[in-house]
C-alpha cells in the first residue's frame, strides 16, 4: 500500500480516536459530566456556532470542563505528541532502538533545574509562575549542548560517542540532582512527584506557551522524514545522496530536544511514551519515517491522554504519577507486539 493511502486512512482514524478519547477524558473525574454536554460546551465557545446552542448545563459544569479538565487534557495531548515525535527522531538520528527523548540528558537537566526551583523556592520576578518551566527548559537544553559538544571530535559527531557522552553527563547531573534532593527535606516529595511526571499544575497559560513551540518544531521535523530514511540506509549512502549528514543530525537533535524540553518543563519527565509509541507505530507500519513521524504524533497524544485519565481516576481522589501509568501500560503492550512480530523492523 502506498504511503499517501495509508496516511489518508490512518490520520482521520487517529484524529477521530484522539477526539473521542479526549472527550471521554473530560467526562470522568470527581464530578461526572456526560459527553454530550462536553461537546456542547466546547461548541458554545466557538464563533458563529454558539448562537444555535442553548445552554442546558450549570456554570460549575462549564468551569470544570473549560477551565479545569480541558486545559489538562489538551496539554496531555500536546506533551504526548511531542515526546513520541521526539522519540521517533532520536531513534532515527542515533540509529538506536533504545533511544528515547531522555537519552541525551534533556530530562535529567530539566529535572535538576526544576529541583533547584523547588528546593530553594526562588522565582524570577518577570517570569512569575513560568519560572519552573523556563528554568527546567534552559537546564534541559543546556545539558544537550554540553553532551553534543563533548561528543564532537573535529567537525564530526559519532553517534556512539554522543550516546556515551549522554550517559556520562546524565550520571553527573543525576548526582547533582540527588544532592539537591538530599538537601531539600521539605520539598522532597514535590520533587519526586514532578520527576515521575504529572500534569496536575495546569491551566490554559501552559498550553499557550508550549503549543506554539511544539507545533512549529513538529512541522519542521515532518519535512525531515526523507532525510531520516536516508540516514537509515547508512551514513555514507546519505552523504552520497546529497544529505549533509552532520548538519541534518544537528538540526534534528535540536528540534527533538526543544520539543522534549518544552514538554518536560510543564509535565516533568514522563517516561516510556517517547520510547514505546514510535516502536509501536514502527511495528505496525514499517520503517518509513514519512509514516512514523506523523503517526507518532497522534499515537503519543492518544496514549498520554488515556494514561493521564487513568492516573486521575484509578485511585481517586488520589492522583498517581503519570510516569507509573505510562510504564504500566506501555511495557506489556510493547512486549506483546515484540513477541508477535517475526521480522526485523528496526
Amino acid at each position: 500500500m502506498n504511503n499517501r493511502l495509508i496516511l489518508s486512512i490512518a490520520i482521520p482514524a487517529l484524529l477521530t480516536t484522539l477526539l473521542v478519547v479526549m472527550s471521554l477524558a473530560i467526562t470522568v473525574g470527581a464530578a461526572n459530566i456526560n459527553w454530550q454536554d462536553v461537546w456542547l460546551i466546547v461548541f458554545a465557545e466557538l464563533p458563529y456556532i454558539h448562537q444555535w446552542i442553548e445552554p442546558s448545563w450549570s456554570d460549575s459544569t462549564e468551569t470544570i470542563v473549560l477551565d479545569i479538565r480541558m486545559p489538562r487534557v489538551i496539554l496531555a495531548a500536546i506533551v504526548g505528541a511531542a515526546l513520541a515525535l521526539a522519540g521517533a527522531i532520536y531513534q532515527g538520528v542515533l540509529r538506536n532502538p533504545l533511544a528515547d527523548p531522555f537519552i541525551l540528558g534533556v530530562s535529567s537537566g530539566a529535572s535538576f533545574g526544576a529541583a533547584l526551583v523547588f528546593a530553594f523556592g526562588f522565582q524570577v520576578v518577570w517570569l512569575g509562575k513560568f519560572t519552573l518551566p523556563v528554568v527546567a527548559f534552559m537546564f534541559g537544553f543546556g545539558t544537550l549542548m554540553v553532551v553534543y559538544f563533548l561528543a564532537r571530535i573535529g567537525q564530526k559527531v559519532r553517534m556512539e560517542t554522543i550516546i556515551l557522552a549522554g550517559v556520562v553527563v546524565q550520571a553527573f547531573i543525576g548526582a547533582c540532582l540527588s544532592l539537591v534532593m538530599a538537601l531539600a527535606n521539605e520539598q522532597l516529595q514535590t520533587i519526586v512527584f514532578w520527576m515521575m511526571g504529572s500534569l496536575t499544575l495546569t491551566d490554559w497559560s501552559y498550553n499557550q506557551i508550549v503549543l506554539p513551540i511544539i507545533l512549529i518544531c513538529s512541522i519542521i521535523a515532518l519535512f525531515y522524514a526523507r532525510e531520516l530514511n536516508m540516514l537509515g540506509l547508512g551514513e555514507e549512502v546519505a552523504h552520497h545522496s546529497g544529505v549533509s549528514v552532520e548538519k541534518t543530525r544537528f538540526y534534528l537533535l535540536i528540534l527533538a530536544s526543544i520539543m522534549t524540553g518544552a514538554a518536560v518543563s510543564v509535565s516533568g519527565a514522563i517516561g516510556f511514551v517517547g520510547l514505546v509509541v514510535p516502536h509501536i507505530i514502527r511495528l505496525i507500519v514499517g520503517a518509513d519515517y514519512r509514516l512514523i513521524l506523523p503517526l507518532s504524533i497522534f499515537g503519543g497524544a492518544i496514549f498520554l491522554v488515556g494514561a493521564d485519565t487513568l492516573a486521575r481516576v484509578l485511585m481517586a481522589p488520589r492522583e498517581l504519577p503519570l510516569g507509573i501509568i505510562t510504564a504500566f501500560l506501555g511495557a506489556p503492550f510493547f512486549a506483546y507486539l515484540l513477541r508477535r512480530t517475526k521480522r526485523e523492523y528496526f
Binding site: 537509515g232 540506509l233 547508512g234 555514507e236 549512502v237 552523504h239 552520497h240 545522496s241 544529505v243 523492523y345
Partner: protein, 254 residues
C-alpha cells in the same frame, strides 16, 4: 572531468596519499587498482567530498570537491561503495526514488517526472518485479543492483565505484559491471572505479591507474599495466599473464 593534482593526505602520522596526480577525461572509464592500503579508497573519499586532502587539489567538474555543497555534488556525482545500501526495511522502489533527492529542494516532494524516471530505471535494471520487496530480504548482489538503480536515478555526470563487486559471486560481478558499462555508453558517463579483481579491471576499463603505498606507480592501458614484472613490484607475487581467447585482453593467472 576529474583532476587530481599533487594530492597528499595525512591521517595522524601516516601518509595515506603522497603527491598523487592524474586526470579522468569526460566519458572515460578508469580503473584504480593496487594492493590493500594503496590509498584507493582514500582517494574516493576525497572525490566524494567525505574528506579533504591535506595538500593539493581534487577537482570535480572544475571545482574542488570539498567546495561543492553536499547536495550540488550529489547532482553531479554518484557513488557506489562495496557495502552498498544497508539491509534496511525499505522497499526497492523507495530506495531508488531517493536518488532524486539531490534534485529536490527541502520542501519539494517528488513529482510525476521523478516517478517516471524511477519507472524507467527499474525496467532498465530488471528490478521491476522487485519493486515492493524490502531491502533486508534481498541478497547482497540484488541490493547492489538497487544501489546502481538509485545512482542512475540520480542522473550524475560522474560515477565513482569503490569495489562494487567485492562481495558478489561471478554472476553478479559481471551483471553489475555490465549495467555500469551500458549506462556509461548510453549517457557518456565518466567512470572511475576501484577494483580488486585485475581481470575485471582489464576487461571493463579503458585505462588503469596502478597505486601502491599512497602513490601512483603507473598509468596506462591494460596492455601496459597488466604485465608480470610491474605487478610483481606492487603485489609481491609474480602472476602468469595470458590472453583472453575472445577479446585478446591480458588476464592474470596465479
Amino acid at each position: 572531468m576529474i583532476t587530481i593534482e599533487n594530492v597528499s593526505k595525512q591521517v595522524e602520522n601516516k601518509w595515506l596519499l603522497n603527491d598523487v596526480s592524474f586526470k579522468v577525461d569526460e566519458g572515460a572509464c578508469i580503473g584504480l587498482i593496487g594492493p590493500n592500503g594503496a590509498g584507493k579508497s582514500t582517494l574516493m573519499k576525497l572525490l566524494s567530498g567525505l574528506e579533504e586532502p591535506t595538500s593539493g587539489t581534487v577537482k570535480v567538474l572544475g571545482k574542488e570537491a570539498g567546495k561543492w555543497s553536499v547536495k550540488k555534488l550529489a547532482q553531479k556525482v554518484s557513488v557506489l561503495t562495496q557495502d552498498g545500501l544497508s539491509p534496511y526495511p525499505m522497499t526497492v522502489y523507495d530506495a531508488v526514488l531517493m536518488g532524486r533527492y539531490p534534485h529536490l529542494s527541502f520542501f519539494q516532494r517528488e513529482g510525476t517526472e521523478d516517478y517516471k524516471r524511477v519507472e524507467n530505471v527499474l525496467s532498465m535494471t530488471g528490478l521491476d518485479s522487485f519493486r515492493n520487496q524490502m531491502l533486508d530480504t534481498l541478497s547482497g548482489g540484488e541490493r547492489q543492483r538497487v544501489a546502481i538503480a538509485k545512482a542512475m536515478v540520480q542522473e550524475p555526470e560522474v560515477l565513482l565505484l569503490d569495489e562494487p563487486t567485492s562481495y558478489l559471486d561471478i554472476g553478479y560481478q559481471v551483471n553489475v559491471l555490465n549495467l555500469v558499462k551500458e549506462w556509461q555508453n548510453r549517457d557518456q558517463l565518466t567512470v572511475l572505479m576501484v577494483l580488486h579483481d585485475l581481470n575485471l579491471a582489464a576487461q571493463y576499463c579503458d585505462q588503469l591507474v596502478l597505486m601502491n603505498n599512497g602513490e601512483v606507480i603507473k598509468q596506462g592501458t591494460s596492455e601496459e599495466i597488466i604485465e608480470a614484472d610491474t605487478l610483481q613490484t606492487v603485489y609481491q607475487t609474480k602472476p602468469e599473464i595470458i590472453r583472453h581467447p575472445k577479446s585478446n585482453i591480458p588476464q592474470i593467472l596465479l
